[in-house]
Amino acid sequence: MYTQAMDIAAARGEDPAPGQVTDAGYQAEFDAKIDRGDFIEPKDWMPEAYRRTLVRQISQHAHSEIVGMLPEGNWIGRAPTLERKAILLAKVQDEGGHGLYLYAAAETLGVSRDTLVEALHAGRAKYSSIFNYPTLTWADVGVIGWLVDGAAIMNQIPLCRCSYGPYARAMIRVCREESFHQRQGYDLLLAMMSGTAAQRDMVQDAVNRWWWPALMMFGPHDAQSLNSGDSTRWGIKRITNDELRQKFVDATIPQAKLLGVTVPDPDLRWNEARGAHDVGAIDWDEFWSVVNGNGPCNQERLAARIRAWEEGAWVREAAMAHAAKSEARAAGGR
């Protein structure tokens, strides 16, 4: 059940706030752990900037899982078979579960879930821009599984080895489930591609709409990436945006061929010398426009989250009130 998350930083009492500890010995110990490839754990000393970076990244990741429930949730009611309905519902539920343990991982850094959610609703925290695109046909459900979850897996597998223990451990479980989702998505598309012409057209249309946004999921080119430097030094980010994007494209193109679809990139070709695919220019104006709130569904996604939170306030209050009353009754009975 729901319990109000405590403000862990405030509750620590005698512990000094992380930012106030500047002892060079602590810093050296932290650096040595990073160099050895040891995990940093919640009770370990850590530089304030490291903590802040992790809170930003883990909470953004958690928010992405929760907002990501919406575009696919759009099709649960219309899934074309009962088996597909159960698979999709279980998948969207998994995304919610990922959000839950990522919020829990963020809470180990001394910030409450409520605070993080409030930052999302106020527009101070971001979530993955991919979820600001609409799901227009049933094929979108399959393409999200195949391309969007596929890109997420590429991004997240290196995080299973990231330096912060709770985040790394959460990611191991997340990646396992995401791999399953990707296969389910691909299976859905295979079924449609062996169906009618209308179904095949739906799949191609969905690939056309999701291909470029999926490539944008890896973030700006390395030269423009703001947060990479420190994150790399701290063992949070181990592979660059462009390297991950390349791996994704190289893994995905053979899958597209097997499926019988094309990707909407006239410049895409195999580069024998590099042993990799060359990719056409990504429209970064579109990327930044969506990041900055002007994608097709930004307003609706955030509004849906805020509405659920506000309309649920009385439920959370009731749960807290009942818990307090029960406690008081138990104390009275003792």
Partner: protein, 258 residues
């Protein structure tokens, strides 16, 4: 003559399975609307779980009904290609979710009913039905516990939550009458050891729900003359739009496989 009786019994048997299966399916469809929109993340997960259990039960029951019917219809043909008047779910499950109080109260009332029915069906002469209920009973007990917890929490919580869940009791309670109405088909099946009369579950159901409603300080309304008739295929106005959404792909692309 005996063939005619056997046919009648078979029709009643199929109907009985559809009443169970359709009720599970339609409530599962309704509950899945919450996914992504619940008051707290834990409840997004919990309500999705209940919906998944119900959809799972519906798949088993509809598949079994299709086999017994003998017209080659599988779970999907029964779920996606029947019209409103052919659905046999009780009316309460097709009503819109309303607020969280109404949702959990409906889950509570209906799951308690399901538990009593399934408990009685474990010894059914229909071995497949018995096996389905044995499997479903465990998850049903868990879902009932979850719903009952929220009924007490909301009834006892704040003035607002109490008022909301009392309103849900007032609105939904009349729809429970349908569940226990005598039915000739059920009686014939009960005579053959296949099913139990739904009217026989009333006592156990009342004994199960009353203490929870009392613990939640909720008042059970006086009986009214209202009777819903969904399980006879005469529904309210909410089932049609629900089916329009649920069936849209199968209806738009006839014969396609997914």
């Amino acid at each position: 003559m005996s063939v005619a009786i056997a046919d009648d019994l078979r029709a009643a048997h199929v109907d009985y399975l559809l009443r169970l299966g359709d009720s599970a399916l339609i409530l599962g469809q309704r509950l899945s609307e919450w996914c992504g929109h619940a008051p707290v993340l834990e409840e997004d997960l919990a309500l999705a779980n209940v919906a998944l259990d119900l959809i799972g039960q519906a798949r088993l029951l509809l598949s079994h009904a299709g086999v017994l019917e003998g017209h080659g219809r599988d779970e999907d043909q029964l779920a996606f290609l029947r019209a409103e008047r052919e659905f046999r779910n009780v009316t309460m499950v097709e009503l819109p979710n309303g607020d969280f109080a109404r949702t959990v109260l409906r889950n509570f009332l209906f799951t308690a009913f399901q538990r009593e029915v399934m408990t009685g069906l474990q010894g059914s002469a229909d071995a497949a039905l018995a096996a389905i209920t044995v499997k479903s009973l465990k998850e049903t007990r868990y879902n009932l516990e979850h719903a009952a917890g929220w009924v007490v929490r909301l009834g006892d919580g704040t003035d607002e939550s109490h008022a909301r869940i009392q309103r849900a009791v007032d609105e939904l309670w009349p729809y429970t009458e349908e569940w226990f109405a005598p039915d000739a088909g059920d009686e014939a099946l009960a005579g053959a050891g296949i099913a139990l009369c739904w009217s026989n579950t009333r006592g156990a159901w009342t004994d199960a729900v009353t203490p929870v409603l009392e613990a939640a300080t909720l008042v059970i309304p006086a009986g009214t003359a209202f009777r819903s008739t969904g399980r006879l295929g005469v529904h309210g106005e909410h089932l049609g739009p629900l089916l329009s959404e649920m069936q849209v792909l199968q209806r738009t692309y006839p014969g396609a496989t997914w």
